[in-house]
Symmetry: C2
Subunit: 243 residues, 2 copies
C-alpha cells in the first residue's frame, strides 16, 4: 500500500497527528508515540494548549491546537480511554477528526479511539478493531468488527486495546517505512514481551476476571446509547436530505 505514502518527498520526516482528549489512556498514546517518534514529527493534538488529563490521574501537554494542525497528515491517529463516552458527544471534537481525516494518508486508532473514528464517519464501509469491551458500540455504529490485534483495511489501520498500540505502531511503520525500519523500532523499544500470566484477552483470561472488567466498563452501555442516538440522527438527516 506504499502508493498511499509516496508523495515524492523522499526521506522527509513523516507528519503524524495524534489526537488526545480528557480521559485518554496514557499507554494508548505512549506505545505509538515512542515508536513513531523515531521516524516522524508527532503532533499531540487537543482543542487548545491546556494540559490534558489521562484516565489515570496524570496529564500530558498538546504540542498543537486543533486549529493549527496542518492538512495532509501522513497519519491521523486517535487514542482511546475511559473518557470515550463523553468525547463521543463532543461535536467540535468529531468535526475536527472528520476534517483532518479528509486529507490524511492513513486514518488510524487504537483501543476505543476506533469508536471515535466511527463517530466521525471515517469507518463507514471499513472493518476495524477496538478495545475488547467496546465492540458493541463499534458495531452499533455500523462498522464491521475485526477481532485481530491489528486490522489493516486499505488505509484504515486500527488496533485492539491499550498495549495493542505497540503492535499497531510496528505494523504501521513496516507498512510505511518498510520491514527494516520496523525491526529497528522493535529493538529500540526492546519489544520482546514475556507476560507470565495468560490474562491478556477474554479468550484466555479467567471468566471471573472478564466479568470484573465488564462491570468496570459499564461505560460501554453509555457508549452504546450515544452510538445508537448518533445513528438515529444520521438516518433521520439522510431521510431529510433525500426528500
Amino acid at each position: 500500500m506504499s502508493e498511499h505514502l509516496d508523495k515524492g518527498n523522499g526521506d522527509r520526516k513523516l507528519e503524524i497527528g495524534m489526537v488526545i482528549f480528557p480521559g485518554f489512556t496514557l499507554q494508548d498514546l505512549a506505545g505509538p508515540q515512542t515508536a513513531f517518534g523515531l521516524h516522524a514529527n508527532t503532533h499531540i493534538i487537543w482543542k487548545n494548549m491546556d494540559a490534558v488529563p489521562t484516565d489515570m490521574g496524570v496529564t500530558m501537554n498538546p504540542t498543537i491546537a486543533m486549529r493549527d494542525v496542518p492538512e495532509n497528515l501522513d497519519v491521523l491517529f486517535i487514542a482511546g480511554g475511559g473518557g470515550t463516552p463523553e468525547i463521543m458527544k463532543d461535536q467540535e471534537f468529531l468535526d475536527f477528526v472528520a476534517h483532518a481525516g479528509k486529507t490524511a494518508t492513513y486514518i488510524t486508532a487504537v483501543c476505543t479511539g476506533s469508536v471515535l473514528l466511527a463517530m466521525a464517519g471515517l469507518l463507514d464501509g471499513y472493518r476495524a478493531a477496538t478495545y475488547w469491551p467496546f465492540y458493541e458500540p463499534l458495531i452499533a455504529l455500523g462498522v464491521e468488527p475485526s477481532y485481530e490485534r491489528v486490522c489493516v483495511d486499505r488505509n484504515r489501520i486500527t488496533g485492539g486495546g491499550v498495549t495493542a498500540g505497540i503492535d499497531f505502531a510496528l505494523q504501521l511503520i513496516a507498512e510505511i517505512k518498510g520491514k527494516e525500519a520496523a525491526e529497528f523500532t522493535q529493538l529500540v523499544l526492546e519489544y520482546d514481551p514475556q507476560p507470565t500470566l495468560t490474562s491478556g484477552h477474554p479468550r484466555s483470561a479467567r471468566p471471573e476476571i472478564v466479568a470484573q472488567i465488564q462491570g468496570l466498563w459499564g461505560r460501554t452501555d453509555e457508549a452504546v446509547r450515544v452510538a445508537k442516538a448518533h445513528m438515529a440522527t444520521r438516518v433521520n438527516s439522510s431521510r431529510v436530505t433525500s426528500v
Copy 2:
C-alpha cells in the same frame, strides 16, 4: 515477600512515586503508570512542577515536586531514557533518589533507570536488569547484571528496556497485590502481545539492526565514562573516610 508490604493499612491505596527527568522515554513511564494507576496513587516526580520533555519531542507534567514527596513510598520507580547520561551527573537528582530510597518499601526501575538507581547507591550488592545497550555502565557501577526481562532481587525489582516496563509492572502488582490483581490488570491493558517480527532483543534481531542501534546509543560511552568517574570518586572518598 509480602512482609515488605503489609504495613497494617488493609486495602488502602498504594503510594507510588515515579521519577522522571528531561529526556525520559514516555513508554518507560506509561506502561507502569497505566498499570499502577488501577491500584495506586501514582506521583509523577520532578524537581519542580515544570513540564518535563521526553526524548521524543513531547512533554508530561509532574504531579509533585521532589521537596513535597512523602516518606515511606510503597514503591519508588525511575524511568529511563535518552537523557540518562546527563541526569547521571545531576547530584541534586541523585540525592533525591537516594533519600526517597531510604524509606521506600520497593525500589524499582526499568530501562536505563536502573543505572540511575545504581548511581544513587541503591543497587550496591543487588542484581539488576537494564536496557540492552546499557549493561556496560551498570556493570561499571559494580552492579551484578541480570539478563532477565524482569529481575527480582529482594525488594529491588528492575526491568529491561522500554516495553519491559509492562512485564515489570504486572510482576510487581502480582508481588504486592496478588495474582488476581495482576490478571485483572493484564486484561484491562489487553496485554496479549503479538509481534509479527522477532527483532525485540539482540539475541533474535538481525546483527545489522543491532549495530545500527549501538551506533545510535554512542550515549552508552558517555554513561560509561560518567559511571567510571563516579566509582573513582567513591573509592577515593572511602579511602579518605578510612584514614
